[in-house]
Amino acid sequence: MEEEKKTKPRVKMREQDPLERARNFMEVPYGYTPDEATQEASRCLTCLRPTCRNGCPVEVEIPSFIKLIKEGKFIEAAWKVKEKNALPAVCGRVCPQEIQCESLCILGKKGEPVAIGNLERFVADYEREKGEIKIPEKPKPTGKKVAIIGAGPGGLTCAADLIKSGHQVTLYEALHKPGGVLIYGIPEFRLPKVMVEKEVEYIKKLGVEVVVNAVIGNLHTVNELLNEHGYDACFIATGAGLPIFLGIPGESLNGIYSANEFLTRANLMKAYLFPEYDTPIKRGKKVAVFGGGNVAMDSARVALRLGAKKVYLIYRRSEAEMPARKAEVHHAHEEGIEFMFLTNPVRFIDDGHGNLSRVECMKMELGEPDQSGRRKPIPVKDSEFQIEIDVAIPALGTRSNPLLLKTIPDLKLNKRGYIVAEEGTGMTSKPAVFAGGDIVTGSATVILAMGAGKKAAKAINEYLKWKFWDVSSLPA
């Protein structure tokens, strides 16, 4: 019996065939059936002192919800997850579980850990499909008002937690749709937009007021929200900002997109459905994506689905240094993305009419480790070569967006322009103003932003009770 438990393999999630899916925008994995989910849940040892929970930034009661799946109580399992996580369908799909909860699963020591992410996804989908969405009872109103700026994963999580505490919550979003990176950044085949819409719908049902088209900073300043609109506290979760470009000659040529622009057109504006949707996007025949993160993988896979014959993923270090999730890299490989490691672009070359026609690259080799601990790429002399391309997508991360921040002069920023906020509470140098997610940490993940939203909600709750502001522990 013991032996059987150890060797029982993880239930694989079935996926669309790589060559077929590389040409459509439908979701890659199909999700578990109830039988598969029960089978996978039965692998959980129900440890006496479970460690998986410690790996979850939003502290989902993992053993409890898995136990409910084992018992066939799928809806109850979904509710259990939702006690801590307002966006389970999203997290089940995009969290890097392999370095969080699953990395701490005891089964992982000798074999494969329980597929916690897949199970989370299953219960969220099950609940949605069965239509048995439970809205918790409305708590007694506290009479306090909180404004949240940015309806991405951090803002949505914070809003959901605060509304459950009885505060009045307004969630401001600059774009015309709430969801932030879940809507504009992560592609349909990785996170169907209808899931995000449903989760936002849930948060609205909890009582959160969502205001779209609200560019805070311009439309209202934070001081106006606090002093004139009667908010008692403010949570800034505006997310990643200005795209970083390569800074090489020819970067203004037509056909060169920041990953942010490329993905926003494809995802938020649904340019892949042009001309049914009015926003166009270039359907490159030969596309080069620069970078090695998840956003680079997403961009490459979107370009492929838009009909590219060839998609190069060009990264200046080697595969081992790539920051993208292994699963995403694997999916990209399977779909036929051509990886070019230790390669760096030098300049873009035009066709004489302002359009991109080629990129010149150089070979790189790895030297001593740099500040990030990764080995620093160094150009190899006389190794220049050119590749013919018509679309290029630098996916190099982002810098802090000053649009809102410059309207709050008394908010302390670090030297990279991000908000200085206390770890664990999100308290900033400005009383009643909290911050979290990418606008504090720089580009990170959905779940880390959600974790920050959750911690901030806890801290805001405390603050609203005592109205006490001590930030002596703020990093210098």
Partner: protein
């Protein structure tokens, strides 16, 4: 929100919209723009604020019909709603009492220079407004601009009214005659504001131009509106849209504006066909 109150053709191809947007009106500053989506499948397009009324809670847009989005805008009727209006966006114009200021506008830009001229006049400047069109019947807002200008010069391509030529011709003449002009503002199509900037360069008259590149989010996130100004890459949505015309790399800007020409034509063709079918169906009483 975003109810259309007035929708009128000003002159052929140029449309006037007054929209209910009290919060935007309250915060609007000279030089700001808004991003508009007509419907759920629409594009996000930037449009300069041509006017606003804080008390009434409205904003005014002047739109030139070019592609699908502007056609859709012009097709709106009073009582319709816009799907999305975000703003006010962009940095405000840098305004002061400079002395004598020339405000030049062409096509939709005639709308954009109106609030500019009004504020400059209020600040004590002597304001010369120069408005340009192909022909007399395409000039609009002359009366509005007269009220906020010390002098108004009309320019038409065919000479049917006022000066014959381009907006920069009378300006250049004034400068050549030695007339002191302390500052120039120019709004309109890229070609026009480029020629104005080139005309004033040798006279070293500071010339501020309102750029209108393609935008998506218009909050600095996507970078499609990047323009090269003084050798530096700037985002028109958050660093502009007003820049020093003598510093702008016009070739790059002009090329970038044409990137979707093919797609725009395709989209427009489809839209026109659809409109035609709708009209036909309506005429014969068929429900689509």
């Amino acid at each position: 929100m975003f109810k259309v109150l007035i929708s009128d053709q000003l002159v052929p191809n140029i449309h006037f919209l007054k929209i209910e947007a009290p919060e935007i009106a309250k915060k609007a500053l000279v030089g700001n723009f808004v991003v508009v989506m007509v419907d759920e499948v629409g594009e996000r397009i930037p449009l300069s604020l041509a006017d606003w009324d804080t008390e009434e809670g409205t904003i005014t847009l002047v739109v030139m019909q070019v592609g699908t989005s502007s056609r859709k805008l012009a097709g709106l009727k009073p009582g319709d709603y816009l799907f999305s209006v975000a703003g006010p966006l962009g940095l405000a114009s840098h305004l002061d009492n400079f002395g004598t200021v020339a405000c030049l506008g062409g096509c939709y830009g005639i709308g954009a220079i109106f609030p500019l001229a009004r504020s400059l006049k209020k600040l004590g400047n002597k304001v010369i407004s120069i408005i340009e069109a192909r022909s007399k019947n395409l000039l609009y807002w002359r009366d509005k601009l007269e009220q906020v200008s010390d002098e108004i010069i009309l320019v038409t391509g065919d000479g049917s009214s006022g000066y014959k030529g381009w907006a920069y011709d009378p300006l250049k003449e004034m400068l050549e005659e030695g007339k002191k002009i302390d500052r120039v503002y120019a709004h309109g199509c890229t070609f026009m504001i480029r020629l104005i900037s080139e005309a004033t360069k040798s006279f070293k008259v500071k010339t501020l131009v309102g750029l209108n590149p393609i935008m998506v989010d218009a909050t600095g996130m996507c970078g499609v509106c990047r323009v090269s100004v003084g050798g530096e890459s700037k985002f028109a949505c958050v660093d502009g849209p007003e820049f020093d015309g003598h510093e702008v790399d016009w070739d790059i800007l002009a090329a970038r504006k044409t990137v979707y020409l093919e797609e725009e034509l395709r989209s427009l063709q489809r839209f026109e066909c659809q409109q035609w079918y709708f009209e036909e169906a309506k005429a014969i009483g068929v429900k689509l």
